[in-house]
Amino acid sequence: MLDWLKNINKDYPDFWKAYLSKFDRRSPRFVALSITTTGHDYKKDVILSISGFGILNDEIIIGDSYEVVLLQYVYNHDHQLSNEFIVESRQPKALEPDGIKAFVDYIGNATLVGHRVNFDVEMINEALEKLHCGRLKNEALDIEIMYQKWKDLNDDKHFTLAELSSLLKMPAIEKVSASEDAYAIALMFLKLKSRLGLK
């Protein structure tokens, strides 16, 4: 409520207005999401890459994907990292504002799915604030919590992505990259969703 009051007179960028207008109705689409960051402090750290896979009708739509490496000039500069590797890699790249914009366009009003998804959402919200936007409005589901629910575990039991993957007897995650993780999250989500009988 306060958030709304604070922002009432703000003029949002167009892409954000378009995003907000998508929330008139609930989406059947899910987006499995994984980000890599420079650390765990969402005030100080920045996002290095974002990946997502769309899920519709319990099927992962391979073509419906998002993948970007963000060129974090400040971060690289501060740590004296060579930009060469990132520039040379074949992944699509963008500067943070463009990457975030495209990501917001991509997710639309889908429900987000992730592993410790609150942190991911918080990181993105930080980036959005720099662009003078509000916070993400999407619903978010966490596969770790889904697993805890399914197994009736306390919420102080934590599992890494790799642990969940082996507990759920999924094929091993081969390379560690944000898109591999996002794909693995999508597979695990489908399995947990059917186990929990979610519609």
Partner: protein
């Protein structure tokens, strides 16, 4: 936009036909349109009579069973493993699915839209050919290995019976014996005798004119109606011609309809074109039974473990088909026992070839279920090795050699698909690879001090059967055991074995309900091995030992033998024998359906009559228990 998962899927697909025919870029393009589905165990992706999907499927991980259901019974047609394609029907036909595809374990499927893939099929005949063939077979493995086991996607029912038509191509004689019409009967008879064949085709310019078979000689020559000097065309019968590429079922129908034993294959199936071969009734019989004799022959010359694995899979097919065809389980058991033995024998053979000939005579003995020849499914290996006594200074080297040999054999058998014994009851284990004297002492020790280590179940060592080596060693061991038995009338030993037999957890609760597993991996399933099969096995063992019945290891045969030896219990023993076979059948069917060793069966999946049948199998246990209790005065231990 770039998509690394699409590339990974393309990479996966590129290893399997027909995708091998496409370039990586094309595959990535296909992969972009793929939808990934996770399928939980026992969930179906499509069922019989479901409308067709807009896609076909490639198994990414897990196993999918293809089956048909008739009379409420599920018949497994095929298994799809990673890389296999299935559900091709929408490509070629307009009607609904004719099979059910169900996950046997949690699986991942790639759904490839037909619309995406169709252009690649149109532009690439190799892809089309592969899909057409797969449409008929739906399994990569059957295409690669044995081309004569094509199972069609189209399932036909004959007279509403639960018969599936197996469209097998037929192996037949491509170089039949032929003679000119002017040949002399006697010469023809000599020719047939020399070639060990029952028929000869009479031809002119390789066009069939008629056929002469053994029966012509019997009815026309031996009866004296024709002289042995007549021309062959005067005794020949009309020949039935058929086209090439006849299926097994068709050939069979032809023979029945025409009441003949031989069919002549010609180019277009008429008697106006050239001869291509001859199909005999015998060809059909061997094609139908997946002939175990031939299997054993092939095993004997298998070059390595992977070939053995393939042959063992054939045995599994044979068992499955035999059970479907209601062949008595005791018969299947015997054959499977022989084939398994042959595999073990060959494995030992191969190991010896690899590490050099043995420094002493030895015997490789199978124990447990294989020793009893009751191994229809791939259950774990149990074995022991006994070698002849050698001089003390050589003992170490000899033992080292045999341990090495045994380890090699065991790992080979593991490759074939027999899992290792959980309790280490294998010849590769120091303790179970010993000299003759050591073994005699070991058995002696077990028999005089039966309960020394109650946690250690050694009773399976009393079910040994030689798989390889010197039969004298096996006989000597048997003799020593039996002389021990008669020498001491070992009450304590029998009491121990008897107690073991009746100590098993009961199959039914007080209220005649199945006792299911309460926790763990097999929760809610019925442990048919420990609750039902083992009590019979253990009881049969102790009873045969105490009756001094030598050389009968099979539980079924043991009960039969016992019935002959002890007429007063004959009825009970016969019931036990029957019940045991029935239990074995239940386990095998469940094992085939679930692709495991069948130890745990799901009662829910049984039909009501089957449940009753299963319960009836437990009835003789009570009587058996009474016999054992009375016989061995089970007060020592209980």
């Amino acid at each position: 936009m770039k998509n690394s998962i699409a590339e990974r899927i393309a990479d996966f697909l590129s290893a399997y036909p027909p995708f091998t025919n496409l370039t990586f870029d094309e595959l990535t393009q296909v992969a972009m349109d793929i939808r990934v589905i996770t399928l939980e165990k026992h969930k179906a992706i499509f069922k019989i009579d479901d409308p067709l999907h807009d896609c076909f499927y490639v198994v990414g991980a897990g196993v999918i069973n293809l089956s048909v259901i008739s009379d409420a019974e599920e018949t497994l047609l095929n298994r799809c493993e990673p890389g296999d394609i299935m559900g091709l029907r929408p490509f070629f036909a307009k009607n609904n699915y004719q099979m059910t595809a169900k996950a046997r374990e949690d699986s991942i499927l790639y759904a490839i839209p037909i619309a995406t893939f169709r252009p690649f099929v149109a532009n690439n005949t190799a892809v089309l050919d592969f899909l057409l063939q797969s449409f008929a077979s739906t399994s990569r493995s059957s295409l690669d290995k044995n081309k004569n086991k094509l199972i069609n996607d189209t399932v036909q029912y004959i007279d509403s019976q639960t018969e599936i038509q197996y469209f097998q191509s037929l192996d037949y004689n491509k170089k039949p014996l032929t003679v000119a019409p002017t040949a002399i009967v006697q010469q023809v008879a000599q020719l047939m005798t020399d070639n060990l064949t029952g028929c000869v085709i009479v031809q002119e310019n390789n066009i069939p004119l008629g056929i002469v078979t053994d029966s012509e000689f019997r009815s026309k020559v031996a009866t004296g109606r024709f002289y042995i000097t007549t021309l062959v065309n005067s005794i020949m019968s009309p020949v039935i011609t058929v086209p090439e590429n006849l299926s097994l079922a068709e050939a069979q129908l032809f023979m029945l309809r025409q009441n003949v034993q031989y069919l002549c294959v010609t180019i277009d199936g008429t008697d106006k074109t050239q001869i291509r071969g001859i199909i005999s009734q015998h060809d059909i019989i061997s094609a139908q039974s997946n002939n175990p004799g031939i299997l054993v022959k092939e095993i004997k010359k298998a070059p390595d473990a992977s070939e053995l694995k393939h042959l063992r899979e054939k045995l599994a097919d044979f068992i499955r088909i035999s059970i479907d065809n209601k062949i008595p389980i005791s018969h299947i058991n015997n054959i499977a026992g022989e084939v398994n033995m042959a595999i073990i024998k060959r494995a030992v053979d191969l190991a010896i070839l690899e590490i050099g000939s043995p420094p002493a005579r030895f015997a490789w003995l199978s124990i447990g279920s294989q020793g009893r020849k009751e191994q229809l499914l791939m259950t774990d290996q149990d074995s022991m090795l006994v070698f002849e006594d050698v001089a003390a200074d050589k003992y170490r080297d000899v033992k080292d050699y045999f341990l090495k040999l045994a380890k090699r054999v065991i790992s080979m058998l593991e490759t074939v698909g027999y899992p290792l014994c959980r309790y280490g009851h294998m010849a590769g284990n120091m303790v179970w690879c010993k000299s003759m004297t050591d073994w005699t002492n070991q058995f002696d020790e077990w028999m005089t001090n039966p309960a020394a280590k109650p946690e250690d179940s050694y009773s399976i060592f009393f079910d040994f059967e030689i798989a390889f080596g010197e039969i004298q060693l096996e006989e000597a061991l048997t003799d020593s055991i039996f002389s021990n038995l008669s020498a001491r009338k070992n009450k304590k030993f029998f009491a121990f074995l008897g107690n073991e037999a009746i100590r098993k957890p009961p199959p039914l609760s007080f209220f005649k309900q199945f006792n299911l597993e309460e926790e763990g991996e097999h929760k809610e399933l019925f442990d048919i091995k420990n609750r039902a099969i083992m009590p019979y096995v253990d009881a049969a063992r102790v009873l045969t030992l105490s009756n001094h019945i030598k050389g009968v290891n099979n539980t079924f045969s043991r009960f039969k033998q016992l019935a002959a030896n002890e007429p007063k219990y004959a009825d009970i023993y016969m019931n036990c024998a029957e019940a045991f076979l029935m239990l074995l059948k239940f386990r095998t069917i469940s094992g085939i359906r679930n692709g495991n060793d069948g130890q745990f069966i799901s009662i829910e999946e049984l039909t009501k009559p089957d449940r009753e049948k299963l319960k009836n199998c437990f009835l003789p246990l009570k009587d058996l228990e009474e016999i054992i209790k009375n016989k061995y005065q089970l007060t020592f231990f209980s």
